[in-house]
């Protein structure tokens, strides 16, 4: 067994939260740059250039990219033979780190304690949503994703009949895009989960929407479906912020999984252009 100290993990989480809030990931920056070059609409181009300028100001001046500093997701993919040396409860310590980081860095706290009744701000942007998983790697892979409320509200889940086709899925996604995408700060990243179960498929869609834009699905059929969906969405003309243009989405990322004989779950997460994620690999000393 090789052990990693819990304080090494919390310190890394603090750095990742700061990195994600103030810096647009390189692959997203590159995708926006390319889109701006290809955009025919003047207004759309102007908006894409503003997004790039915003990213520069945010990282130089240490101002959050977006005022909505998101709900925090922390994923810990624990490699084999790795143990975490704990001196307390892991999720308590991670939440404490999130609250301190948000308070010390003037980040917006957007979490309320009770969803239906008090809706009182918890003042620390906590709790974070924490997932742990196990891998065959020799390190611990720590991932932080921040999800804003506007785009989050446009997520959807369909439990399709197993006979549903690729075209049915494209049509459903297009329909949702037309109805809701203007609320998700387009250009968006369309994260699609297919398969699993109702709860698993939404996790897949979330992971897909935060996947690096340069990575495509390794199964050629799903890769082609990603391209088809992206193409159809960008034909709508909705454009950046819904104000017209060809860049409604920067990418469509699909994650798929086996599922029950009676089901075909489909979930979609709209990731806004302010896609904030950061990760690091911690190897035991």
């Amino acid at each position: 067994m090789k052990s990693i100290k819990i304080t090494t993990i919390t310190e890394e989480v603090r750095k990742l939260l700061i990195k994600a809030n103030f810096n647009l990931p390189e692959d997203v920056t590159e995708a926006i740059r390319n889109a701006a070059r290809e955009e025919k609409s003047c207004r759309a181009r102007e908006i894409l250039e503003l997004i790039l300028e915003n990213a520069e100001i945010a990282s130089k001046q240490k101002l959050p990219l977006c005022q909505d500093c998101g709900l925090v997701y922390i994923d810990l993919d624990i490699g084999r033979d790795i143990c975490i040396e704990e001196s307390g409860n892991l999720s308590d310590l991670l939440n404490q780190t999130v609250a301190e980081t948000y308070n010390n860095n003037y980040l917006r706290k957007s979490v309320v304690s009770d969803p239906l009744y008090e809706r009182k701000n918890t003042s620390g942007n906590i709790p974070a949503i924490i997932h742990t998983g196990f891998t065959q790697d020799s390190y611990l892979h720590l991932k932080v994703c921040l999800k804003g409320g506007g785009s989050e509200n446009c997520s959807f889940l369909y439990m399709l009949e197993p006979s549903a086709s690729e075209d049915d899925i494209i049509a459903l996604i297009l329909d949702e895009v037309k109805k809701n995408v203007t609320k998700s700060c387009p250009p968006v990243i369309i994260g699609v989960g297919i398969g699993g179960s109702s709860s698993e498929v939404t996790r897949l869609a979330r992971i897909a929407s935060f996947r690096n834009l340069e990575v495509r699905n390794s199964d050629n059929r799903y890769k082609r479906l990603e391209e088809k969906i992206l193409n159809e969405v960008n034909k709508t003309g909705i454009g950046p912020q819904g104000l017209g243009g060809r860049t409604t989405a920067l990418a469509c990322n699909i994650e798929h999984a086996p599922c029950h004989i009676a089901s075909l779950p489909l979930a979609v997460f709209f990731g806004c252009h302010s896609t904030r994620r950061a990760d690091s690999k911690i190897s035991p000393p």
Partner: protein, 198 residues
């Protein structure tokens, strides 16, 4: 397809050159009657922020006849919950939130004289009609460029509902804040017209 594209480019260029308005608050009917969906507005002056929780309280006060903490006559409301202002800065990051969540709470405020709303995204058909009826406009700011937009803010402070944190009512002094007219007082709709030209 190609010719459509060309028209589109020309249209937006025309928009760009011809329909730019530099306006100061308070926005009155006189000032907003020239605004057409698709126009660009650079807004300066004092505006207030109010989002979900503040709207709920304002509407409850209006219904129960209580005095409002802010005067809504000829006011401009920014649907926004800014991030905290770091020391030495004039404002933290600030940007629009989804306007449609305020749709069902909008009419009572329009009755009190609200003239302009700033947000992002499409709104309901009812709101388009209400804006015609009450002669008010819906402006959109680009979402998610909040560090950039903070450079257009001269000062920001809470003036009511402090306990709501980012959902409090803030008074915001802006200068040349870049906006687009989404819905005008004639029923014009930027989201529809943006689609038609493609």
């Amino acid at each position: 397809m190609m010719t459509n594209m060309k028209n589109y480019t020309q249209n937006t260029f025309q928009n760009k050159e011809q329909n730019i308005h530099r306006l100061s608050t308070p926005l009155t009917e006189e000032k907003i009657k020239n605004l057409k969906a698709g126009d660009t507005v650079y807004l300066s002056g004092t505006i207030i922020s109010a989002r979900d929780a503040a709207h709920k309280r304002i509407v409850e006060s209006i219904i129960s006849g209580k005095k409002l903490p802010v005067n809504l006559k000829n006011s401009t409301i920014f649907y926004a919950g800014p991030s905290p202002t770091p020391p030495g800065k004039k404002s933290g990051s600030i940007g629009p939130t989804t306007a449609s969540r305020m749709d069902s709470l909008t009419e009572p405020l329009l009755k009190e004289g609200l003239k302009a709303m700033i947000g992002k995204g499409r709104r309901s058909k009812e709101v388009v009609d209400l804006l015609k009826k009450y002669k008010a406009v819906y402006l959109v700011a680009v979402g998610g460029i909040s560090a950039y937009l903070s450079t257009k803010v001269k000062s920001i402070k809470t003036i009511a509902y402090d306990d709501l944190g980012p959902e409090a009512i803030y008074e915001i002094e802006i200068e040349n804040f870049p906006l687009f007219v989404a819905y005008d007082i004639y029923g014009g709709d930027i989201f529809e017209s943006a689609l038609l030209v493609e």
